[in-house]
Symmetry: C2
Subunit: 412 residues, 2 copies
């Protein structure tokens, strides 16, 4: 038996033992969507997260990193609630504009922006988080050619990382941003080049569960932004402090105490250096806002025994949930929280392995977990499917049926 | 400095140092396709592989596992040259039929076939490699309901694996196929149920580089097929011996000596048990046929330094080449063979890391490799991109520009 991650708070069953998502029965949602596999995103959970952020970080802007989940209806709803959207490609720019976002509230990071990406972004009026001296020069040239003033921030490669973060985005040699030592000169070049100077983007890591590490990274980020601004002689209109708030995926993991992080940041901001006295501060979150709101529902097609082990074969798999299969940056595969949706909260009766429908041993959704007994036709729920789910998975692999997506909890 | 895998034989440059693929300049191919990123597949290399197989395995059928690469023009050309196509989904069935394949030469394996998949496959007349007793019953019921006789083979979960194979598909508890001990009863059930008995599919592993291990697995597979047939009292019309021929991806790896594998198999088949005396034998290959024929071309967008390291940022990445980024079943990331396509074969001048355009540290195409000096605008070639490339990658991730695909070497 291997442990599963903990199911996020807020999920319960009705009297039949049917999992409810946003107050609606999982089987009804599948019926409404038309088929499995299905991603369901509960907007009420996202709004609760946003409210929690607002209470903990008063006065700090909340930006949504749309790479976490760019499903149109979700993005449209999110845009109504946040202060800015962070995009990572011209394709995401189009998603953001389609969702009704104000281009002036969009910022665009990404180390490989091509000239046509810069062109499109500058024309739209979004802020470019520039990643190199070369990119700044290209943006200035495009601005000169098109007569549109580029809005340029500098993405800084800090000399520190968020300790214990799942993805290290700073500390040492990185393809992201500009080494801190070279940033002041670049800020001067941006200003001298006639661009609108937009500030700093400093992202030290992601998926951090340790509040102390987040506090430490925010403190260092604030100090770095101030000292870079001093050196450049240019107060930054906005500093994106990064994000990195993690969610617990695996057994034994604990969510970070973001209220404590907020309390400390508020103290730091109230004593901040004068050069950033009028600066707007933003925190950019993706996974923490939407990760827990999503449930991936897939139907059991076969139940089989092999050498004493029970396999539940589903109509979904790693083509929709690469991360849950353990193939998205994990060194050791561990189990996401999973459940039999139509026997939710029932007694554990057996040990089983849940696999997808692909012909590869990589396609595992849950390994040796204890579950209520399940049969073909039953629904498997894989939790924590709201971020880096469908869009981060090899959807075309083996040309299996596509996953559907829907939102629930949309009324306020 | 970290080593790169060896570039497959057959790639050379013209006098300008431009990589040739199928005799055509890489830059011309990009121009013709319209843009980078681009996958180019050289049909002449695939045909050379097929010829090599035919010479080494006379009389053995060659089946193509289309999961390796289902790009339409490639599939159409391949179908002209092989004896059968192996599919893994109803989507792949449609690809095979669109390529003009004879449905009777198609076999369908996959542990999670839904009723509608079975229905579509039975109606088309393809062989189902059934994966469980339950699937057989469902297929028989569909046959009875529709009046079409299902063509049913049994996928066997053998008690052995190919030693040292990259993906173990047999040996112990597996979601694939039926444990050997239960197969004879299932064969009897298929025959008694009025289906067309189509034989065995026995797949013990994939990506094996050791010829001895392949010889041993084929010997064991032949013996297993014969003993299961004896127990069932039913000679199998066809035995799919699996495949598993690997290709060398990483530094120091060597291709298997398939000629020796063929020689041994021919001897085994000439002395085979009587019950399989009239059986057709097939080998199912995907990666070995198409893996080396593919080159992924992506353009350098930025060249940047960070803490003394050089990064070449491209307009491609893991969204098209997940395996090359090290996130497709690998425990330790190693470098695929890569080159600067427009300085092919030139002196190595520097150490650099090639990354994609995604905002994630996972997006690495080559780590600390030595290369000729490269600048923005230059083309990076990632080799071994013909199998499990685009279709096995998270193409929608970060909504980056889509990759294009083309074939070359199409004339004979």
């Amino acid at each position: 038996m291997k442990p599963k991650g903990a199911i996020p708070a807020g999920f319960a069953a009705d009297a039949d033992g049917m999992l409810l998502i946003g107050g609606r029965r999982a089987d009804d949602l599948v019926h409404e969507a038309g088929d499995t596999p299905l991603f369901v995103y509960d907007l009420a959970m996202v709004r609760a997260r946003i409210a929690r952020f607002r209470a903990a970080f008063p006065g700090v802007e909340l930006h949504y990193a749309i790479k976490a989940n760019s499903f149109g209806p979700l993005l449209k709803a999110l845009w109504q609630e946040v202060d800015g959207l962070d995009i990572a490609s011209a394709g995401e720019l189009r998603f953001a504009l389609d969702a009704g976002a104000d281009p002036r509230a969009i910022s665009f990071a990404g180390p490989g922006k091509r000239d046509e990406d810069l062109d499109e972004a500058i024309a739209a009026g979004v802020v470019l988080n520039t990643e190199s001296e070369g990119e700044v020069e290209r943006a200035l040239a495009i601005g000169a050619r098109t007569g549109v003033t580029p809005r340029l921030a500098v993405r800084v490669n800090p000399d520190f990382e968020i300790k214990g973060s799942g993805m290290r985005m700073g500390g040492g040699a990185k393809p992201f941003g500009v080494d801190a030592a070279r940033v002041p000169a670049l800020v001067k070049r941006i200003i001298a080049g006639g661009a609108e100077w937009a500030g700093f983007h400093i992202f030290a890591g992601s998926q951090a569960l340790d509040a102390d590490a987040l506090v430490e990274a925010q403190r260092a980020t604030l100090a770095l932004a101030a000292s870079l601004a001093e050196e450049a002689g240019a107060p930054p209109p906005l500093v994106n402090l990064g994000g990195g708030f993690g969610i617990p995926y695996f057994y034994g993991e604990q969510a970070p105490d973001v209220e404590r992080v907020g309390q400390t940041l508020m103290q730091e901001l109230s004593n901040r250096p004068q050069i950033v006295g009028n600066t707007i501060f933003a925190i950019e979150l993706g996974r923490w806002l939407v990760g827990e709101c999503g449930v991936y529902l897939t139907r059991i097609v076969d139940r089989k025994e092999s050498h004493g082990k029970t396999f539940l074969v589903t109509d979904g798999g790693m083509q929709h949930q690469l991360a849950a299969s353990g193939n998205f940056g994990q060194v050791v595969r561990r189990n996401y929280p999973v459940a039999i949706a139509n026997r939710f909260g029932r007694d554990f009766e057996e040990e089983a392995t849940i696999v997808g429908c692909l012909c590869t041993p990589l396609d595992r959704l849950a390994d040796d977990v204890v579950l209520p007994r399940a049969e073909p036709g039953d629904l498997v729920a894989v939790f924590l499917a709201g971020a880096y789910g469908l869009s981060a998975s090899p959807q075309a692999f083996l040309a299996q049926r596509p996953a559907r997506e829907m939102i629930v909890g949309g009324t306020r």
